[in-house]
Amino acid sequence: MRYHIQRACRMRFSVPAREHHVQIRLAPSHDQDQSVIRVLLDVAPKTHAARAYDGFGNLAHHFAILAAHEELSFEIEAEVETRHANPFDFDLVPSAHELDWIAERLRQSPRLWDLVLHRSAMTPELPQEIAGQTVPVLREGRQLIDQVQDLMRWMRGLIAYRPAEAEPALALVSALEGGAGSAGDLAHLLIAVARQWQVPARFVSGYLDAAYFDPDSSADLDALPQRQHHWAEVLIPGSGWTGFDPALGLLADATYVRVAVGRDAQDTAAIKQSCRGDGIAPEVDDRLSVSRLSLS
């Protein structure tokens, strides 16, 4: 599918800011599942924007306004083609050999260990039970892809998806205690369980087809302004990185546009900035539009 993505952000400071540095991860990634056709970035006041890849291979743009300014705005416009039509379309590795398959991938790509071992407040070590429910353990004889889907179902009884929450909590425990959370919180929980299973899992930030936000569509969502979405990817034997969206209970397909991946939401932060000023956070107006241009 081909999508047009437009993200516009305007910041207004109460007292002029200076030496303002901004780093954004908003452009779709160019990888085996999707091709970026074009990306345009426009910044006002005018300045030079540069691009670089971070330690997880994510594309980040950065720019700086050194002079004092009360307002800064930028707009990123991208066209991307996604190809991952059917996440179930792959040759299964027999379940008895799935862990060997993962062990071999870990041997060939030691960087994957980060996505097994990393623990943080967002993806903590989990107890055996949460809210009286036993945390699923990896079972023999059942395909990993099925077990992750079972996990998504289990999770829905634990954290209800709250679409109004845009960003994940700094600590997963607050979503667990509250019984509700953002898409990012659900992704973090899925990742934390997968890592307990010693299976590589990573956090993804990206965009979702506008149809998911259409009240007339089949997805069970209220009409909401579009915003960045978050889900998880698990390394599935035979398939590779496979997207699981516990918020919607779906596997990611070509309607999901990947922007950045990391150990947790900290690694994929969409906007990071630093400036000299009065220390008061600016007023931010952030708009996103994702439109489907074609089905092929």
Binding site: G55, F56, L66, R111, W113, D114, L117, S274
Partner: protein, 490 residues
């Protein structure tokens, strides 16, 4: 045991040292005669006598005070107080035949560790080949994901290093730990020499002592070598956290001696992937930053967002190849104390050579068998937190109480990757002149290496002395003292 010195016009000199059994004594042979290379010094201090030595010790303190050579204690009742640098006036002497393997061993070690860092932040072949366990690296606190696949100028990460050496019961030099982030102490090494030369000029003339005072000149040369705009056009700055840092004296000393600007984060600004120094004449592009701030404070866009010590955009400028950072970010993983145990394998893997300098045997707390052994024998062990330095987060088994051991045992069980253990090594002793008496104290040695066009080891280093009798803790930040270190020419 007391040994009486010949006193010459100034009262008696009494040596209150205990016998040289157990720990190797660098000054005395087993028969209490000074070792050959100390004979001239022995005769000289006898000639000076008690009163003369006391006067020289006072002069040394006065000179250090006048020169403003200070450091800050980080613990104890004097925590946070700036103190005059403690220098023992009796130097440590290392003959050329002893120094040669140290120099070769340090070059070998630094070379291998630099290759290790390059590999870790690129292809990770050493992990794929199973020489170092990937879990050990990825559980380490100091692996810097943000610099993966970045090529630092000249492929050098470890421009400046200080490797702590000790001597075991047989007098063998062993590596105790590597300091590969922003090791300090070099200014004290130089000040010690300047003052020592002034205090004991006649003794100096009896020995052919190799110079250490040229260190800033060689450092500047190595820093210029890294400049993306070429050595001749290089603008170099020393980046300091500021006046309240314990090592501020050293930062200002090195900037002054090299003739470069001493900058704080607020003096730098990044624009279009270049770093500039704010000057009264406008912005001036910076090519090389000798930074004395930790990785996590370098750039608020990449590391700690609340840091005001670094400069936003620094890492992007470095990644773009427009500025050299010295040391490169991410070197901390190579001096992680759990990685230390693998350094001999790292040397063999990259260089195909046998390690010249041996290491202290190390128990990994992630290994069940090692952990069980250590937990059963804590009173014989030194237990260290892997990501701490300066003697912090450490349990000295023989000096510990049952309650302290119990507390450490719990910490180890809760987070085994955070700790390692080593058997207590009776580190060597040396004669010191302390409070108008001759006493023996334990000591170590931190030589400094500079990696520019080649790897250079400064002939000397900072000898750190445990000031308390019997103590094995030599860290300056915990009240240790120092000695000038004389490496002799052939």
């Amino acid at each position: 045991m007391f040994r009486q010195f010949q006193a010459n016009g100034g009262g008696q000199l009494l040596d209150h040292s205990e016998g040289p059994a157990m720990a190797f004594h660098e000054f005395y042979r087993d028969d209490f005669r000074p070792r050959d290379h100390y004979l001239a010094m022995w005769e000289h201090i006898q000639g000076i006598g008690q009163q003369g030595l006391a006067r020289k010790a006072r002069d040394a303190q006065l000179a250090l005070h006048n020169e403003g050579v200070t450091f800050t204690l980080y613990s104890g009742k004097d925590k946070g107080i700036e103190r005059v640098w403690p220098l023992d006036i009796l130097p440590r002497i290392i003959p050329a035949r002893e120094w040669q393997p140290i120099e070769a061993g340090l070059k070998q070690r630094v070379c291998a560790l630099n290759l290790f860092l390059k590999d870790l932040y690129h292809g990770q072949q050493i992990l794929k080949d199973g020489v170092v366990p990937p879990e050990l690296i990825y559980r380490g606190k100091d692996l810097c994901r943000e610099i993966m696949d970045v090529d630092p100028p000249g492929d050098i990460y470890l421009h400046i290093s200080g490797v702590d050496l000790i001597r075991d019961e047989d007098g063998r030099y062993l590596v105790l730990e590597d300091n590969l982030r922003t090791p300090s102490g070099v200014s004290y090494m130089i000040e010690n020499r300047v003052i020592q030369r002034r205090l004991l000029p006649e003794l100096f003339s009896n020995y052919r002592v190799r110079r250490v005072e040229h260190y800033p000149e060689h450092l500047l040369q190595a820093l210029r070598y890294l400049s993306p705009r070429g050595p001749d056009a290089a603008v170099v700055v020393v980046l300091t956290p500021g006046l309240f840092n314990a090592a501020y004296f050293e930062h200002s000393f090195l900037a002054r001696e090299m003739g470069v600007e001493l900058a704080e984060g607020r003096d730098l600004v990044c624009k279009n992937d270049k770093v500039y120094l704010k000057t009264t004449l406008g912005l001036r592009q910076v090519d090389v930053i000798y930074r004395r701030i930790d990785d996590e404070y370098l750039d608020p866009l990449v590391f700690r967002a609340d840091s005001v010590l670094g400069a936003a955009g620094l890492i992007n400028a470095w990644r773009a190849g427009n500025v050299a950072l010295v040391n490169a970010p991410g070197t901390g993983i190579a001096d992680d104390k759990a990685v230390y145990a693998y350094v001999p394998d790292i040397i063999r893997y990259y260089l195909g050579e046998t390690p010249i300098l041996p290491s202290v045997p190390t128990y990994q707390m992630t290994d069940h068998q090692d952990r069980t052994y250590v937990l059963d024998n804590m009173e014989k062990m030194v237990i260290k937190a892997v990501a701490e330095s300066g003697g912090y987060g450490m349990l000295m088994g023989p000096d510990s109480t049952a309650a302290q051991r119990d507390q450490f045992a719990k910490k180890i069980v809760a987070a085994p990757r955070h700790y390692i253990a080593q058997p207590v090594v009776q580190i060597s002793r040396h004669l010191c002149y302390l409070d108008a008496e001759l006493e023996s104290r334990h000591l170590d040695l931190r030589p400094f290496c500079i990696y520019g066009r080649d790897i250079e080891v400064v002939p000397g280093g900072l000898t750190r002395v445990a000031m308390r009798r019997g103590s094995l803790v030599v860290n300056s930040s915990q009240g240790g003292g120092s000695k000038d270190t004389w490496v002799l020419a052939d």
